[in-house]
Symmetry: C2
Subunit: 344 residues, 2 copies
Amino acid sequence: MNRPTIKTVAAEAGVSTATVSYVLAGRTRGQGSGISNETSRRVHEAAVRLGYRANQAARAIRTGRSNLMMLSLTMLSDPWSLSVSRAVGGAVASAGITPMILADTDWRLAIPRQSADVIFIDDAGRPGDAELLAELSRTNTLVVFSETLEPDGYDVIRSLSGSSLDAAMDHLTAEHTRVACLTPAGSLRTPAPIRYQAYLDGLERAGQPFRPELVATFDGDELNAYQAAVELLSSPEPPTAIYATSDFAAIAAIHAAQRLRLAVPDDVAVVGVGNTIQGEAMAPSLTSTGPVGFFSGLADFLVERAQDPDSPPRILEFPWQLLLRDSTTHHPQDLLYPEREVMK
Amino acid sequence: MNRPTIKTVAAEAGVSTATVSYVLAGRTRGQGSGISNETSRRVHEAAVRLGYRANQAARAIRTGRSNLMMLSLTMLSDPWSLSVSRAVGGAVASAGITPMILADTDWRLAIPRQSADVIFIDDAGRPGDAELLAELSRTNTLVVFSETLEPDGYDVIRSLSGSSLDAAMDHLTAEHTRVACLTPAGSLRTPAPIRYQAYLDGLERAGQPFRPELVATFDGDELNAYQAAVELLSSPEPPTAIYATSDFAAIAAIHAAQRLRLAVPDDVAVVGVGNTIQGEAMAPSLTSTGPVGFFSGLADFLVERAQDPDSPPRILEFPWQLLLRDSTTHHPQDLLYPEREVMK
DNA sequence: GTGAAAGCGCTAACAC
DNA sequence: GTGTTAGCGCTTTCAC
């Protein structure tokens, strides 16, 4: 399967490799001058006849651009990841960029082995990540989603969840005295991640005690979240409300409740975090807090960055809102609790 | 951000580029001879100090191998796609191959622009695909999932659903006289895809009439499937059983039923196709038909093919079984209806 | 044990 | 209008 090269095509068309390169790049050469229609036609014909397709690696080495965008998505099954993929897929279409997903892989190990014009990283929060990212950004164009990092050679995408998480907790504690939390096991570290901290703060604001038995943790994906929720809801004194630190966990909690024949929201109210389309579309629709315009904003920024790698690193912030839906209230209102506007 | 090259490292370590290449490849040079420990140490130190990382494009152009596996997954949100991703992620780990997902994109357009050591294509059935794949396989190593294509320069992965789909329909028609079908809109073409044909055949075998109003179609993903199922189940004379041509559609149908306060399986029984982990884990667990050992078998084969691109194209077939679970029967049995063994 | 050098396929000055 | 040519960063043969 000896692949035809630009040389083969040049020979076949009876022109030089340079001409082939120019013709196939669709460029008119030099200024003022161009390539004759006759030559162009011959080259195209030869290329088609031979089944020629440019070697991307060779092009990349020469131009320094791969026209690749890499999305490192740590948990692909998370609806959040799927939303990112979908939004990016739409945004890149016209830009000649191909988005590739690096799934369920630790970017800390994988990035050094790959390259792309721009790399999006969806989880950077571990100790040491700041240094590692600064180091990697010397040789890669990085866009990092993080609620805590500051730009340092790389861009930071941030969604300001702060007071909307508080609003979510207040929404629950206003009517419930047994509010549980469903969160990844890693959340219990100190200092607590912002989403979990909001749970602790919310209880305190409401003057409610912290009960360890109301904190359910899980490792990994929705199946484990589901099992954790089943256990939580099967306990002797089950919660009447669940604050889940992600939409997918909240969705798993609702499925768990339905499995146990508990009515949502009557027997148990559920709120998520992230405001995903999946939560919005499920039944009952999921009350959640999330950034507005986040996915399309992220996608547009990634495309912009892929095309202009050298402009100074930026920070992009998205305001969050609490969106009340059927999983916490029977009478869906169009009420939003708008966050102060912090878009920049 | 001038990236250090092998040259930079060579200068820093006071050796030649060839030596650097050998040291960093971890190879002992020539036969018998080797690289002195001292030199090796100096090179490694220099590489670390400079933050050197090999340019993959340059390596690819030289060796003809990218160590990349491309998974073209047409509908990423489909649990089937996630299972493929997960299985492959596990299988490649030790082989030094990085799997990249090309999501929600038409491979017919995208493949010519990219390259990888091996490319997996998950939907090839359109007219003209056979020719296009044969053409592409001249310059790519392809593994194609298809129930109809034959190997032709590329490998074919096939799951033999045939009689297990019949078993699924027989399972429904044995107890139901209003069996609906939930399937993508594209299925209605002639000739009918095998999964939809099995519905038609099943009705006929049972001597039941075909009722157009019991065929619900949808475009795209689970949200649309969900809506189609809601409509179907809200109709004046709703079905008492649904044959969905995929697990994700079946899962959407169960959610739709739950939304409408219909009990599964009492008010409506549901079977899926594909036997995904999501269907197995949901509540009620989903009766489905699917290949056994498919995902791990596919993943292993992809890795094998990535490492040995030149052995003759193969066809890999996986037998299907009907797995009875809670979405069609109240007393989950461990009964399997084993397909005749056709594994090769 | 190590270095020199060729060349992978492509692009972009520059020459004519 | 088109051809020549110098590399991009890397691997690998061959010479020392």
